[in-house]
Symmetry: C2
Subunit: 146 residues, 2 copies
DNA sequence: TTCTTATTGATACCATGTATCAATTAGATA
DNA sequence: TATCTAATTGATACATGGTATCAATAAGAA
């Protein structure tokens, strides 16, 4: 339930603009990540990729995931079934909520995080250049169905 | 530079109260984690433990680290040299800052995080039960020495 | 001191991710 | 369209980080 929609075309364009080739495997993987409601691991993405293209290699998937991460198109989720799952980078500064019941993700308004960082910089004197926030719990739907 | 100090005695007491035995290896490891200024991995802790007790086994260290984590005495740091480093749990709700230059940790006032969670719950309708925040950058000292 | 059992160390093992390298293919050029 | 070149791929072997097993040890209650 991302608040903005993701356009796989843009990801392909980003690949191209960075001088990478647009290949079948990469198209498939981009489609998989861009449309998943849940954080995906490379292994899961591999399984899904082989459904539409059985001979897809494992190493290729790991390489592509790394490439997408380096391009900033997907981002690693920490603490949800380990630290090996990825979600699309929706806003640059992400306040990601993950439901521990259904596993679905929601991108919350990140203004509060921006404020928090600003405040903490002022209060501590440290210069904050990077942040990682993950929120877990029960989403609206799962609360009702409980 | 934790804002509160850590008392290894308390950790040993926590072990004891949970029905675990207080052993030499565990005392050594507790001392190592409680006094480190930097996040430590199990592998690093193993190296340090063997300096004072050479025959210490690797599996034992991994098991002890897991035990300390389960007891809530140490907590995993995400995104600092992977996700395998641990720091003492100082406040229950942690706003941990890690300097990317010197690696030292600082526990910031976590009231802003409490507010953020409260605000996000109200705004999204999700019930937030768990959070993970990590801040990175340049600490006060490293900014001056730059 | 004895006894029971949690804990330990050595080892083998497993899972996740990475390096290698010949074969393939995107896409630029003719 | 055919040709060419290097990025990409798939298969495999490998490395790393962590776990299961099991006999030997030691904590701490009796």
């Amino acid at each position: 339930m991302p608040s903005k929609t993701i356009n796989p075309e843009d990801w392909l364009a980003a690949l191209d603009e960075s001088g990478f080739r647009v290949t079948t495997v990469q198209e498939i993987l981009i489609d998989i990540f861009a449309h998943s409601e849940y954080p995906l691991s490379a292994e899961q993405a591999w399984d899904m990729a082989r459904q539409s293209r059985p001979k897809t290699g494992r190493a290729t998937v790991y390489r592509t995931v790394e490439k997408l991460e380096n391009l900033g198109l997907i981002r690693r989720v920490h603490g949800y079934q380990g630290c090996s799952h990825f979600v699309p980078t929706l806003p640059e500064l992400m306040m990601l909520f993950i439901c521990l019941t259904c596993g679905r993700t929601d991108y919350l308004d990140s203004q509060p995080l921006e404020n928090l960082i600003q405040h903490s910089e002022d209060a501590s004197g440290h210069h904050i250049t990077e942040s990682r926030l993950q929120l877990f719990g029960a989403c609206v739907d799962c609360q009702q169905n409980a």
